[in-house]
C-alpha cells in the first residue's frame, strides 16, 4: 500500500502533497477537545497495523485500517494517517518522506468519502453490518486504485498496474471488511457515541 521513494514523477509527488495538505488542514479543524484522544489512538492503531502481514502474490501486503479510521474520524483521518505514515516512514522505512503526500492522499481520501457514504447506513440495524464491511473492503479497493493511478501517471500502463495492485490487496480487503464490521458492531453496543458523535448532545 505504500509507494516507495524514487518511483513517482515530480508532478505526481507535488499534486499528492498539495491535496494531502488541504485534507490535513480541514481535518485538523475537526480535531478538538474530546476528539483529540480518539484520533491519537486510531492513529496509533494505524501505525502498528501495518506490521500485520498477509503474505500474497509477488510481494506481501499488510493491514491498513484506513476504512476504519475514515469511518470513525471523518476528515480527521487525514492528520491521523499523516502522522501514522510519517512515523512508519521514519521507523520502519515504509514508503518515504518525499512520497508521503501521495501515500496519505491515496489512503485517506477514499476513507473520507466512505465516511459520508456509510454514515446513514450505520443508523439502521439491517444495513449496519454490510455497510461497515463495505467500508473496510472498499477503502482498500479505492486506495489500491488510487495507488495504481499514481504509479500509472508516472509510468503509464494503468490497467496492468491496477490489476497487480488490486489483486495483491484482495485478502486485505476481506480482512479489513471483517475487522471493520466487528469493530463497528462492538462499538455500537458498548460505546455508541463514538460511531454517532452527534447523539451526544
Amino acid at each position: 500500500m505504500h509507494i516507495s521513494e524514487g518511483i513517482l514523477s515530480a508532478p505526481v509527488l507535488l499534486g499528492g502533497g498539495a491535496l494531502s495538505a488541504a485534507g490535513t488542514a480541514i481535518g485538523l479543524k475537526e480535531v478538538n477537545g474530546e476528539r483529540i484522544m480518539p484520533t491519537a489512538i486510531l492513529s496509533a492503531a494505524f501505525f502498528v497495523a501495518s506490521l500485520i502481514h498477509v503474505p500474497v502474490g509477488p510481494g506481501s501486503v499488510h493491514l491498513v485500517l484506513n476504512g476504519l479510521l475514515g469511518l470513525l474520524l471523518g476528515w480527521a483521518c487525514f492528520p491521523a494517517i499523516l502522522t501514522g505514515l510519517f512515523l512508519q516512514a521514519i521507523f520502519f522505512q515504509y514508503g518515504g518522506l518525499l512520497v508521503l503526500g501521495v501515500n496519505v492522499f491515496n489512503m485517506a481520501a477514499p476513507a473520507v468519502c466512505l465516511h459520508y457514504l456509510a454514515r446513514p447506513l450505520l443508523r439502521r440495524k439491517k444495513t449496519r453490518a454490510i455497510a461497515s464491511f463495505g467500508v473496510g473492503f472498499l477503502a482498500i479497493l479505492a486506495a489500491s486504485l488510487l495507488m495504481a493511478l499514481s504509479l500509472a501517471l508516472s509510468d503509464g500502463g494503468f490497467v496492468q498496474t491496477a490489476r497487480l495492485v488490486v489483486l495483491a490487496h484482495v485478502p486485505v480487503m476481506l480482512c479489513e471488511g471483517i475487522i471493520t464490521m466487528f469493530t463497528v458492531s462492538f462499538l455500537v453496543r458498548v460505546q455508541p457515541e463514538i460511531i454517532f458523535p452527534e447523539d451526544r448532545s
Binding site: 516507495s4 480518539p38 491519537a40 492503531a45 501505525f47 502498528v48 506490521l51 510481494g59 504509479l151 460505546q191
Partner: protein, 201 residues
C-alpha cells in the same frame, strides 16, 4: 475510562503483532566472477519474477537487466570491463506494485575475486627483485596466477559471510521503533490538548 473500547481494539492489535519489516530489501554479494543477490520483504518472502536493473552508480547507465527467480534471488556475471573503470554498481529492483529497493555494490567489494583490480596495482618491489626460486620439486606458479587462485578460493569460502553481512544491513522494526512511534503519537496528542486548553478562556 471513557475510551475503553478503542483502547481494547488497540491492544488487541498490538497482541496480534508479528514483528516484520515490509519495505523491499535488496542485497548483493560477490562470489567468484558472479554477483549473487537476494530480495526480501523482510520475512522470508522475496520479490518473485521481478525486474532487476544493474546500473553504473556514477553515470546511471543501465548495464544489465534481468529478472528474479521464483524465490526472489538473482545472479549475474560481473559486467565486462567493470574493473577497468572502477565501476560501482547500483542494483535496483522494482516490483511494479510500488515497491522499490536498491543496493550499492562498491567496485572494491566485488572486483577482489575476479582477478581484475579496481585500480592497476604495481607488484610489490620485493617480488620483482627476489631471486628466481631454487630449482627443486616444487611446481612453479606465476605470482599473478597464485593470487587469482587464492582470491577465487577465498571468495567462495567467504560468500556466506558476505551474504550474512549484506543481510545484517537490513533494518527490522524493533520493539523500540514501535514504542517510539506510539510515544510520538501520544506526545502529539498531548501537545494538541495543551495547545487547545491554552486558547480556551
Amino acid at each position: 475510562m471513557k475510551q475503553t473500547p478503542t483502547w481494547l481494539l488497540f491492544f488487541l492489535l498490538v497482541w496480534a503483532l508479528p514483528v516484520m519489516a515490509h519495505g523491499l530489501r535488496v542485497f548483493a554479494w560477490p562470489e567468484g566472477d558472479r554477483i549473487n543477490g537476494e530480495t526480501s520483504f523482510g520475512h522470508g518472502r522475496g520479490a518473485k519474477d521481478s525486474p532487476v536493473k544493474v546500473l553504473d552508480a556514477t553515470t546511471g547507465r543501465v548495464l544489465l537487466t534481468l529478472r528474479t527467480d521464483d524465490k526472489g534471488n538473482f545472479s549475474f556475471p560481473v559486467p565486462a570491463h567493470a574493473g577497468s573503470r572502477d565501476q560501482d554498481l547500483r542494483i535496483v529492483v522494482e516490483t511494479g506494485d510500488g515497491h522499490r529497493g536498491e543496493w550499492l555494490l562498491k567496485a572494491a567489494d566485488y572486483l577482489a575475486g575476479t582477478g581484475e583490480e579496481p585500480v592497476p596495482r604495481p607488484l610489490p618491489a620485493e617480488t620483482v627483485d627476489r631471486p628466481a626460486p631454487s630449482p627443486g620439486k616444487q611446481i612453479s606458479f606465476s605470482e599473478e596466477r597464485l593470487r587469482t587462485i587464492i582470491g577465487q578460493e577465498l571468495d567462495s569460502r567467504l560468500a556466506p559471510i558476505h551474504r550474512a553481512l549484506a543481510r545484517e544491513r537490513e533494518k527490522r522494526p524493533s520493539a523500540r521503533d514501535i514504542l517510539g512511534g506510539l510515544g510520538y503519537i501520544f506526545g502529539l496528542a498531548g501537545l494538541a490538548a495543551w495547545w487547545q486548553s491554552r486558547r480556551r478562556p
